[in-house]
């Protein structure tokens, strides 16, 4: 398993560097679709099938389309700017902090991790008996954490309405101009 993941990670880094280097924003938006597909592939390899579903639909589908919608309101070429070092420092500090945080977490697939000791067995035992639904993740999302999901859905719908409103108003403005 590991060599495939390493290779996919290598592809991921290659795409990320390429996107950062490209001045053609349309090409960069297209390549971000590949980035999402690679992420989704990695999620599948880690058995997070449901997350992979979402990543493929949202990352490769919806967000590419939103990026394109945004591009139709701006220009296709990025302005060339002098290299600035402050953002790079910020990125490295933030990334380092996140990596430090990960060090505290239990190892991937560790059977003694808290999540495998308390919640997961409960969900797995309860799902079939309580809901009669074959997919445990579905049961968790829609029943055990139903209100949580409701809140998330509300956030996403609001965001979608906001973005669509922004794009639509921009288009009308553009169309109205002589």
């Amino acid at each position: 398993m590991a060599p495939i993941e390493l290779l996919l990670f290598a592809f991921l880094i290659a795409v990320a560097l390429l996107v950062a280097r490209l001045r053609d924003l349309l090409a960069a938006a297209l390549l971000l679709g590949i980035f999402s597909l690679l992420c989704a592939g990695l999620f599948v390899l880690n058995d997070a099938v449901d997350v992979a579903f979402t990543e493929a639909a949202v990352g490769a589908g919806v967000s590419t389309i939103l990026l394109l919608g945004t591009l139709s309101l701006t220009r296709r070429e990025e302005k060339s700017q002098p290299t600035r070092w402050a953002p790079l420092v910020v990125v490295f500090v933030t990334g380092g902090a996140l990596a430090l945080g990960i060090l505290d977490m239990p190892a991937y697939g560790d059977p003694t991790a808290p999540i495998h000791q308390h919640l997961a067995p409960d969900y797995i035992a309860g799902t079939a008996a309580e809901f009669g639904i074959p997919n445990v993740v579905t049961a968790i999302l829609t029943s055990y954490r139903g209100f949580d999901t409701l809140g998330e859905t509300a956030v996403i719908v609001t965001a979608a309405i906001g973005i669509l409103a922004l794009l639509a108003s921009g288009r009308r403005w553009k169309g109205g101009a002589p």
Partner: protein, 92 residues
């Protein structure tokens, strides 16, 4: 056996990445990205067999569907410069 097929798919993906990076036109990149999407479908299917999880075929099909829809949306943008219907009607 599955590993051999997977190696083939991964090599194809790498070459498609090179083609997408090289361009030069947007359409060349789209061609490479479309190819990459099909290869992701195959990669998921083959991996599913490799690790004994043929249920992953469901995922493979969803990827194929998403790849198709995304491709059409991308082309619509590239061709008309927006996702709106105004330009489509103007084209006719």
């Amino acid at each position: 056996m599955f590993a051999a097929a997977m190696a083939g798919v991964l090599v194809t993906m790498a070459l498609a990445l090179v083609a997408a990076a090289r361009g030069p036109s947007v359409f060349d990149r789209l061609l490479a990205i479309n190819l990459f999407g099909t290869k992701t479908v195959l990669l998921i299917a083959v991996t599913g067999f490799l690790v004994g999880r043929p249920e992953w075929l469901d995922l493979a099909l969803v990827y194929a569907l998403i790849n198709f829809v995304a491709m059409i949306a991308l082309l619509k943008f590239v061709r008309f410069g927006s996702l709106g219907h105004d330009d489509l009607d103007a084209e006719r």
